[in-house]
Symmetry: C2
Subunit: 632 residues, 2 copies
């Protein structure tokens, strides 16, 4: 049985981002030329050349015409929430060879019409909608930018809302309102697509996040375009001042004096980079070949990663890898905060929130930039330029080295610098910027890294400093500035890794490190460590909770393929810094993010089980999570 | 009360080093010029300019003449195991200002004479030995290179040993023997300074580590220069073949074909680096200033690190930081392996084993190289050239960034590349190369990194592959090549961090993240996380065992210094990947490495408690470890 691997690891936010904004900038890099390779066409004539290539502009246009001609959608036009390639079956993709005709091209469309979610399949070759399933379970597709704009417009035309703003003395020209996914908290808000809108003052700063209009939350039905509920309980809470919140390089002259300047520095490649990107998506570097594409929901998808062995043979490593979900629960029961338990991938989309990268600052010189080709809510194609960058990385690190002590009769100092390949994308999900890296090493290691930058999501408080807070134990986070609390929260990031090491039918083993007592008289040593290998027989065997004092290694291996020594070939999964969710398992946010109940899950390959929070995550009750599939 | 902080974290070895040796090399970098700034004098006339500057060549020569005139040493000359600066009291160092005369210069000497360890203090100004304490507890100083040579010479002149070698058909010209510290395992080997010598065949490979002569261990008294015990039980075990073990760049043409070549790549700084090294040891970069020196035992010592705040004020962060001990227990009870439970810092010395760095491969272009000035066993000065490198690092990473979604009415893409400063040293403790980095960030973060490279310490076995091993459960490690087992082991690295954040008298707080249940009717949320801060009142409060499911943050702070908001100023200690030692607490190796019983210890400042394994570690019973001090 084929098993894809969902590895989940955690990032605990290090909340210094907002304080570092004046630092580590590099003027000269910013003004430099020769910034990289550009894929600078408008994609009007793109054609897919690989079974996994994303939908092209012509294909998206064709899909739009197919949908507009489709019965149910011909009268009133739906909101197209996501429109992306419906990948061919794995067997078709694996057996496909370059030059062969592509398997039939199909699109998967999530659309909302009259409050109902349609899960459609469009066949591009046949030119028809082949399936149209109306969702009867809970949940809605990702919010579109249009949904979020709708919500703001509804607000501005509402008297009660305007009074709340006026009461706070905020000029409407300074008003910035953002739509927040509402989560799911029981029957109260079911049966309609809603968002929770909260506002900020952008007066005298681009960093409106630091100036929240606290205690004002408006629940909006984005399909009916009406306000469901308006709660205004915070008129007594001042809007934090803008002092020192501006982070714009152009206008932060007041920072410049205190910014430690460093001389210009760059990675140079006199002969250019060593990688190529063929047919727009196939990346070849050193001993690696893989398919890379932008995705509206996952952001980046790495497919069919193969590595060349020393004997020249290309060996498959991973069929598909991507970020499946990101869980961000804030820790404040307040009525204006309790619902902030985001599932960024399913509610906002890592591709939908990935802006164009800043050349030379987000990615080094000689980077290759890949555009995202997506669709708007009315089905029109749109281009997200420079959404992904690919670059070779020399970080001053050592790949391998050894020195001998001359006294041993040898005098050897051997060292190889470490050069890697990085594919990078940044998703700006509101205040936060997630920096997603896939790093490939020539020794076969694949490194998944996530960095967190941007701004904190903060809560306004009447208190200017700790001294006038009556009971600091009641605070839901530290006071990070006058009248500003940085509410405690976590970021849990789950990756879907479909490993195909030397082919399919991989297995999973837990290698437990246990203490052995030496036998009487056996040794002066009383105890030593032994590695005990246990191959997972069932999904339950492979529901892993990390344990610091009962440690294990985790191996994905191919039982059918052995080294010349007889060891099965495989990869070791090495978790990074990890933490566990401490929320009640029956707390609504945790039910929806049940993936964080374990740190590793191993489930059979099933194309309908790629999104660990479910296909339709927004407002879902958690009835389609990996915990539910796995319990079946 | 002043508290230095000993933070201990763990590295679990990723044993791919030996397999990566063919990779990530870069011909062009190797042949390049302009390799960095050199401190290329012979130090004949160096003079100390800072109270913490290491002993100079003239000072070492003076100490040698003082010692030779010293009564007990005038007749027979001792073995000088370590000779280094006896740092002035912290109060003197902190109050010293540039330009002022230095506090009295003193040397601390560990010498062995007639099997006794002398702990001496030499006053350079008075020109006399001021204290001479003969050690009555257990333990001896670091082994010297001379000790290790002695051991080999004793072997070669022994008939029984020579017969054992001949019986294995090894040509004496190919014989390589290394001295291993014996650990301590009860009374059997007490009262004499011994080493365990084991040998390898260097036939047809520079990588003799891969060709162990298994089952032959000779115990040698290095002071009496005689063999205490010879055990030969492995004549039936073949010496592994040399096939593909050669890692030398010059002779590995057979690798070249299979090595993925990448184009040359380097960090370039058209205006040169932004840091300066003043008076040989004071490093100034961006907003950081610190004192850096080589040390025979710790390798590198960072002192008086101060960071410049936005208002221009220099604020103290750390008085002293260094690697205090490295515990490397191998997990094999076999009579030839049980004793391999190394304490690399106290037994071998990270400075004593730090070879000259390989320019452009160990450190990037524009690195500054610092020499080590140490003493030989007869007290003569010797120079370890290019022992430490300092460089600015741009790794293609992002220091801070934020993008706004244009739909929000903003179109901002701000990003600052990340540039840091790194001080690096590599210790080659036999087969292993430890890469020690201190990395400083402009946002105030200090990063401690340890990389592991070199070769595995392997055990020869009669078995060529897994198929002819009767019971693989008996193996003490994986079969990594024909007849070669990579024995399971760990590397535990303990750092001593004497934090002085905004001055002395810092405190330690554990911030525990606990689940709170929301009150009935309080919130749709059932649970949330709360940070509960507990300030350590006693040393026991601050004996920290990490807990994944009861997580905490760890803060070092200055209760006397508060931000304008009233928050105490401080640093957060963020552990990296960690593991716990699973050995019995009463197992001799664990008693000596009791520091690994906890992951953080906090103890009062005490100059005699800098080495967590004790001052005299070799063969010690563990009667001077941090666990012993802390229990007092």
């Amino acid at each position: 049985m084929e098993k894809p691997y969902r590895i989940q690891f955690f990032i605990i936010i290090i909340s210094i981002a907002v304080f570092t904004c004046a630092y580590s900038r590099n003027t000269n890099l910013r003004s430099s030329s020769n910034t990289g390779v550009h894929n600078s066409n408008h994609h009007f004539t793109d054609t897919p050349l690989h079974p996994l290539d994303p939908l092209t502009v012509p294909e998206i246009n064709k899909i739009r015409s197919i949908l507009s001609a489709y019965g149910p959608f011909s009268s009133s036009s739906p909101s197209i929430n996501t429109l992306s390639l419906d990948e061919p079956d794995k067997s078709q993709v694996v057996s496909w060879k370059t030059g062969e005709p592509l398997p039939p091209r199909r699109a998967s469309v999530l659309a909302v019409l009259d409050g109902q979610t349609h899960v459609l399949t469009v066949d591009l070759n046949l030119g028809v909608v082949t399936t149209d399933v109306v969702n009867v379970g809970s949940g809605y597709p990702m919010l579109t930018t249009e949904d979020q704009l709708t919500a703001s417009l509804v607000l501005y035309s509402n008297l009660e809302f305007n009074n709340s703003i006026l009461a706070r003395g905020v000029d409407f020209n300074d008003l910035v309102c953002g739509s927040s996914s509402p989560g799911w908290f029981g029957p109260g808000e079911e049966g309609k697509r809603i968002v929770k809108v909260q506002c900020f003052s952008g007066q005298n700063t681009p960093n409106y996040y630091m100036r929240p209009i606290e205690g004002l939350t408006v629940t909006v039905d984005v399909d009916k375009r009406e306000i469901v509920k308006l709660t205004d309980t915070g008129r007594h809470i001042p809007i934090p001042k803008e002092t020192n919140t501006d982070y714009l390089y152009a206008t932060t002259s007041q920072f410049s004096d205190m910014t430690p300047e460093t001389n210009p520095m760059s990675m140079e490649q006199p002969k250019g980079p060593s990688f190529t990107v063929e047919n727009g998506h196939t990346v070849k570097w050193a001993n690696w070949v893989f398919h890379l594409k932008p995705d509206i929901r996952a952001g980046m998808i790495i497919s069919q990663a193969v590595v060349q062995a020393e004997n020249g043979e290309y060996r498959s490593v991973m069929y598909k890898g991507f970020a499946s979900e990101v869980f961000v629960p804030y820790m404040d029961p307040d009525q204006h905060w309790y619902f902030k338990s985001y599932l960024d991938v399913g509610e906002y989309g890592l591709g939908a929130t990935a802006m164009a990268l800043v050349e030379l600052n987000d990615c080094p010189r000689y980077s290759y930039y890949m555009d995202g080709v997506f669709a708007t809510a009315d089905g029109r194609p749109f281009i997200q330029p420079n959404m992904i960058c690919i670059f070779e990385r020399y970080a001053g690190d050592i790949g391998w080295r050894h020195s001998e002590i001359p006294a041993m009769g040898f005098d050897m100092r051997e060292s190889r610098p470490k050069v890697t390949l990085v594919a990078r994308m940044v998703s700006s999900v509101g205040n936060y910027d997630y920096i997603f890296d896939w790093e490939f090493q020539t020794d076969g290691v694949i490194r998944i890294k996530v960095g967190l930058s941007g701004m904190l999501l903060v809560k306004a408080t009447p208190y200017e400093n700790l001294y006038n807070i009556p009971n600091t134990d009641d605070m839901t986070g530290p006071l990070v500035s006058e009248n500003v609390i940085g509410v405690v929260h976590d970021h849990y990031i789950s990756y879907h890794l479909d490993m195909d090491i030397d082919g399919q039918n991989n297995s999973f083993a837990e290698v437990n490190l246990v203490k052995e007592e030496s036998l009487p008289g056996q040794s002066p040593r009383k105890s030593y460590l032994k590695a005990k290998r246990k191959v997972a027989k069932t999904e339950n065997d492979a529901k892993i909770k990390f344990s610091l004092y009962d440690p294990s290694e985790f191996h994905v291996f191919n039982p059918a393929r052995r080294s010349r020594l007889g060891n099965p070939t495989g990869y070791k999964i090495v978790p990074g810094g990890t933490a566990a969710s401490l929320l009640d398992h029956d707390d609504p946010p945790q039910i929806r993010a049940a993936v964080t109940n374990n740190q590793i899950w191993v489930t059979p390959h099933n194309r309908s089980e790629e999104w660990v929070g479910g296909l339709l995550v927004s407002q879902s009750k958690g009835d389609d999570t990996i915990a539910v599939w796995s319990a079946r």
